[in-house]
Symmetry: C2
Subunit: 130 residues, 2 copies
């Protein structure tokens, strides 16, 4: 993480360093929170975070977030933001692919504290270093 908080980081340059889907990179740390970026395409998995809200900003493409109780899908085009409240079951997906920026507590697992059985393409991580 050396240098992450002392030098600026260009988003495009950061995104060019990896291709893995659903595998967030930690772009910056702000107090006890991470700012992460990820490339996504296809479906993630139903999960929930018991101890953290999760902020999403769509940098490119189009992200859907399915929610329960009541069942609905929030559609996020490029340039839109949304917060999934702690405890809310959700499943992100992106038919065409997207790049996203997230803010959540440091240490938050990509698959949350409770989740459906994991498909092989979902990376279980608290965020990789850039």
């Amino acid at each position: 993480m050396t240098g992450m908080s002392t030098e600026p980081v260009d988003l495009t340059t950061a995104l060019d360093t990896f291709d893995a889907l659903w595998s967030p990179r930690v772009l910056a740390r702000v107090n006890d929170h991470d700012v992460r970026v990820a490339k996504v395409r296809g479906e993630h998995v139903w999960h929930r975070h018991d101890n953290t809200d999760e902020f999403f900003l769509v940098l490119s493409g189009h992200l859907d977030i399915a929610l329960r109780a009541p069942d609905r899908v929030v559609t996020l085009p490029r340039g839109s933001v949304f917060v999934v409240p702690r405890g809310a079951e959700h499943k992100p997906s992106s038919a065409e692919g997207a790049t996203i920026l997230m803010v959540e507590l440091t240490g938050t697992l990509t698959v949350g504290d409770r989740h459906d059985p994991l498909p092989g393409h979902v990376d279980v991580t608290t965020g990789h270093e850039l």
Copy 2:
């Protein structure tokens, strides 16, 4: 704040709701942190936040952040991010103007806990509601 965490918000639409410079709007809350957006042009004021880091993402334009010890200016073009660590004296400026997104503890004052004498154009706020 009703609806802020339950419906998506479009960044451009949010930015179109105000013209005031150096006067952040709270776009979203994530746990005990705010995600704020602001329009800036000209010079802010030297200040520091004793209890929070401050994350910057430049959405459009060009932001400079002057820092001390050692004296330097970090230049942030569109699409770049930077974290000013807690306790670090800093002065944002933008000769041509910029729109920025910030992440910091809810309740953080725009002018910090210690600051130089305030010019009239600097809004002293913990962030206005959208």
